[in-house]
């Protein structure tokens, strides 16, 4: 470090990288995060990208960004607002300005602030020259020129040279936060092993960026974020979709079964299909179906065949799967349906998230159609809940929905890795013979699960289907009393899952004025808001639902210990509607936003604080 410069220690920083879809912002953010992880910070990321693959270069719809918060403490969100913005062009600056705190640092690629690019981003005047940025510290860096200078003599083409400029910006950020660039250098060497000239160029640019930040007089201070006090253990970085894929593979091994995944590509669920398609050496069978219906149909076929039938989609695809999901309800087959929720209705905003499919997964089918629903609360929790979804489906012979969302799918955090040997096996039995004629709708006395007889087993030949079923024999039945009885039996079977799931725990006092109850991906924002309030001496309790159908057994008794229960949801009030029905004597209040992005910690802090 240059001798004139100083170093300051800070607790947490939020950095946002923004640029054109082709500028490599997701990669830059990922690399910065990977090094952050190795440095021992806790972190949480929020990638945001347009649904268009390559919107016209330099335009507002083409902006792709990546936000990461890292900290010396345990954190749960990617940060409300950035302390530092790296903006690769005028469009990125325009889209991202509202995400930077007043007084924050903005590093702009001044090479891109030409008349042409300003016009594409609809800036009437150049924001670097007018008063737009007076509230911020601005560092203008001609990234394109500096990158070209750094690569003089390298054998790359002009367009290839300019594509390296994200590494210049990354190098600067490594200097600013006092991190080593070694991890990224290793990654570049691995990634471009067959293109040594690309390796040399990117490494050169990365180092040039680092040195530039060290030399430039504008940056006088660099910052240090000390190691976080995470629980001891081995960690890796993980996104929700990655964790889900690994979780389902793990569950299949724990059950000693083949994992079959039938799916049709859809944002933001496709990552799971891609990850599972790679896992051929685990015997995973992936089937890219012709449509959403074929995808769920194939999963039902695999479950009928006695293996793990899994399908995955997002909201619009779930609509198409409804009829087949009901077939799984009627035939009582253990099919698992992943729904990575995105903004709706209809095509909506494919790359944006919300929690608006809860009532759909519970009730969006004809007839009385009970389905178990689990919802992960953090990216790494997708692993645990994937295993849970399989365990519940196989144990209780029922379809289970795994309700994730677009934020969990793509957001990354450190995952404390489980001890693999300690994961409990999932017990599965297939009958091999039967006392008397086989009765496919006989039930286990405890769980009410029906027997799972595999085709190919001699003596257990039977027929199932979507028509009404007679109790025990499973024969087609139009008998009115039988029909009603079967409706209640199927409902009771799902209700009894409550005996097989953990009770809900309360963080903070077990009784009091206010409980904040959430579900799914809002866990992190609620946790952070309550932590901030507690530091200010304002205490409220937190509980979070991983199981949405059935609810944990003790939910009612927990809720009744509080004067008011606040339900923050990223929808117009779906969980609260259910809770008001189940617990009419509890006083619920909703806090609802449906903007396509996660809750800001600040808005929750303000809302909850106002109630204390």
């Amino acid at each position: 470090m240059s001798p004139t410069k100083t170093k300051k220690t800070i607790a947490a920083v939020t950095v946002r990288f923004a640029g054109d879809s082709g500028d490599g912002m997701q990669l830059t953010g990922d690399q910065f995060t990977d090094t952050t992880a190795v440095m021992g910070n806790d972190f949480s990321t929020l990638p945001e990208f347009p649904a268009e693959i390559r919107a016209p270069a330099g335009t507002l719809p083409g902006v792709s960004s990546f936000q990461v918060q890292f900290s010396d403490a345990v954190i749960f969100t990617p940060g409300d607002i950035a302390d530092v913005l790296v903006a690769m062009n005028p469009a990125a600056l325009k889209v991202s300005l509202k995400h930077v705190r007043k007084g924050g640092l903005i590093i702009v690629n001044s090479s891109s602030f030409t008349q042409n690019d300003l016009g594409k981003a609809a800036w009437a005047t150049n924001p670097l020259e007018d008063k737009t940025l007076v509230d911020f510290q601005v560092l203008q860096v001609p990234l394109s020129e500096l990158t070209a200078n750094a690569l003089q003599g390298h054998p790359l083409k002009g367009s290839e040279v300019d594509r390296c400029k994200n590494f210049f910006a990354l190098g600067m950020m490594f200097w600013l936060y006092d991190r080593s660039f070694d991890h990224t250098v290793d990654w570049i060497r691995r990634k471009f092993v067959k293109r040594p000239e690309i390796v040399e160029a990117n490494v050169a640019v990365l180092k040039a960026g680092y040195n530039y930040a060290d030399i430039t007089e504008v940056l006088q201070t660099r910052y240090e974020v000390k190691k976080s006090k995470l629980e001891p253990g081995t960690y890796r970085k993980i996104t929700g979709n990655e964790a889900a894929a690994i979780g389902f593979i793990t569950a299949a091994q724990l059950a000693g079964k083949t994992l079959f995944y039938g799916s049709y590509p859809i944002t933001p669920a496709s990552g799971i299909l891609q990850d599972l398609a790679k896992a051929k050496n685990f015997g995973v069978k992936t089937f890219q179906a012709e449509d959403e219906i074929a995808a769920v149909g194939s999963a039902i076929g695999a479950a009928f065949g006695g293996e793990i039938g899994l399908t995955g989609t997002s909201g619009p695809g779930l609509c198409l799967k409804s009829e087949a999901m009901n077939l799984a309800v009627m035939t009582e087959l253990p099919v698992i349906v992943i729904n990575v929720q995105r903004s709706g209705p209809s095509t909506g905003m494919p790359t944006k998230m919300e929690q608006t499919d809860l009532l759909q997964v519970l009730f969006g089918r004809n007839g009385e159609s009970p389905i178990a629903v689990v919802a992960p609360k953090t990216p790494s929790d997708c692993f645990d809940m994937a295993v849970e979804a399989v365990r519940l489906a196989l144990t209780h012979m029922t379809p289970v929905v795994f309700l994730s969302d677009g934020y969990l799918a793509n957001s990354a955090e450190p995952w404390r890795l489980p001890e693999i040997d300690k994961l409990p096996k999932i017990a599965v039995t297939h009958p091999s013979s039967w006392n008397g004629p086989f009765t496919p709708y006989a039930r286990d006395a405890k769980t009410l699960a029906r027997p799972w007889a595999k085709p190919g087993t001699p003596g257990l030949e039977h027929r199932i289907g979507g028509l009404g079923k007679a109790e025990i024999t499973g024969a087609v039945s139009y008998d009115p009393d039988n029909h009603e009885k079967m409706i209640y039996l199927r409902a009771e079977k799902v209700a009894r899952i409550a005996d097989d799931i953990p009770e809900i725990a309360v963080r903070g006092p077990a009784s009091g004025a206010l409980l904040v109850l959430g579900w799914g991906s809002t866990y992190g924002s609620i946790h952070a808001a309550l932590t901030a309030l507690a530091e200010a001496g304002k205490i409220a309790s937190q509980a979070h639902l991983n199981y949405l159908n059935p609810f944990p057994r003790n939910l009612g008794s927990v809720l009744r210990q509080f004067k008011t229960v606040l339900i923050p949801e990223l929808n117009t009030g779906q969980l609260i509607m259910l809770l008001r029905h189940h617990f009419p004597n509890v006083k619920f209040k909703g806090y609802n936003r449906v903007t396509g992005v996660p809750f800001q910690v600040a808005e929750l802090t303000e809302k909850i604080g106002g109630m204390l």
Partner: protein, 342 residues
């Protein structure tokens, strides 16, 4: 198909072994009875134990089929039987799987799945029971009903152009394609057996008479008085002979077939049936031969070999395991990059 093991003590099968005992509820006189009987007869002839057969159907009259077979069966939802059969086939290569569908189930609501099951060459048999009408919903026109057909939902005649099931099968490059009819149990049985022995997807169209809503619709072709002149039974490697005393045949005039008198001394340009031709042209041409201009072909249109979907799927898995070794859960969970917190 997984044959009965030589040590299996069970006696040879009879037709009754494949009768489930559920009360058959088709209309009296329905063509489905003879199709069901022919299937049960056929299975009795083979030495595959009955637990290894699975009948998967969609919705419609013919889709009740699995309930009447004493095997594993799955009566699914409208049009989706091929998707369920696909998942089942992918996880179990040993079963003998039949998809039973109809002209509405298979070509209208489930048309997409039929196409994709065929082009993937999934190793199962698809029987499409074609009666050119919607029976279970009581008499609306179907995608195979001829233009002008007057039904409850087309009181002034259907304005839809019908789909040709076998033509769709050719376009989807199904590896086994055949046509048979409910009135000829022996022919049905021969076709069913050949379909089961075929490795890969088999697509069979069965002309079936709906006695209630579309009675005698195939009569002009298959009727006792007319069949000799209007039906032709395909035989591999032979000319297409039909008519009284097999006196007529079909020859090619350029790209187009024409009916001529059969002269065994002059076979130049005669259409010689070649079911094994890997190119689709010949079979396609046969699918276009329709009443009243041509005799309607019955039998095996096409039977060619291609790797099946489940072979390819399992082969890819075996290759990856051979190359990378069997997956280790710890490696998967730990991923490429970990760090320790002490």
């Amino acid at each position: 198909m997984n044959p009965l093991s030589p040590t299996d003590p069970r006696p040879k099968f009879t037709k009754n072994d494949f009768v489930s005992g559920a009360e058959v509820r088709w209309c009296p006189g329905c063509g489905d009875y003879s199709i069901l009987g022919a299937m049960q007869q056929t299975l009795a002839k083979l030495d595959v134990p009955r637990e290894n057969y699975v009948f998967v159907s969609g919705i419609g009259c013919s889709s009740r089929f699995p309930y009447y077979m004493n095997n594993y069966g799955f009566h699914t939802i409208h049009g989706r039987a091929p998707t369920i059969a696909t998942g089942l086939r992918c996880v179990n290569p040993d079963l003998s799987i039949w998809v039973i569908t109809g002209d509405g189930d298979g070509l209208s609501i489930g048309g997409n799945h039929i196409i994709h099951a065929m082009r993937r060459n999934l190793n199962f048999n698809i029987m499409l029971v074609n009666n050119q009408i919607y029976g279970l919903t009581k008499g609306q026109y179907s995608p195979t009903s001829p233009t002008g057909k007057m039904t409850k939902s087309s009181p002034y005649g259907s304005i839809d152009h019908p789909i040709n099931p076998l033509c769709l099968a050719i376009a989807s490059e199904a590896t086994f394609i055949a046509r048979t009819l409910d009135g000829d149990p022996r022919h049905m049985s021969m076709i069913f057996e050949r379909a089961m022995k075929h490795k890969g997807v088999s697509f069979i169209e069965v002309y079936q008479n709906c006695i209630i809503f579309n009675d005698k619709t195939f009569q002009p072709v298959t009727g006792r008085d007319t069949r000799e002149d209007r039906m032709v039974f395909l035989e591999h490697g032979k000319p297409l002979l039909f008519g009284k005393n097999k006196s007529k045949t079909v020859r090619l005039n350029g790209l187009f077939p024409e009916v001529v008198d059969y002269d065994p001394t002059n076979t130049r340009s005669l259409l010689i049936h070649d079911e094994a031709d890997p190119r689709p042209h010949h079979a396609y041409l046969l699918t276009q031969m329709t009443y009243p201009d041509f005799p309607v072909p019955f039998g095996v249109f096409r039977s060619v070999e291609k790797p099946t979907y489940d072979e390819l799927m399992n082969g890819q898995i075996a290759d990856v395991i051979a190359k990378k070794g069997r997956g280790n859960l710890k490696d998967l969970i730990y991923g490429p990059d970990t760090w320790e917190v002490k």
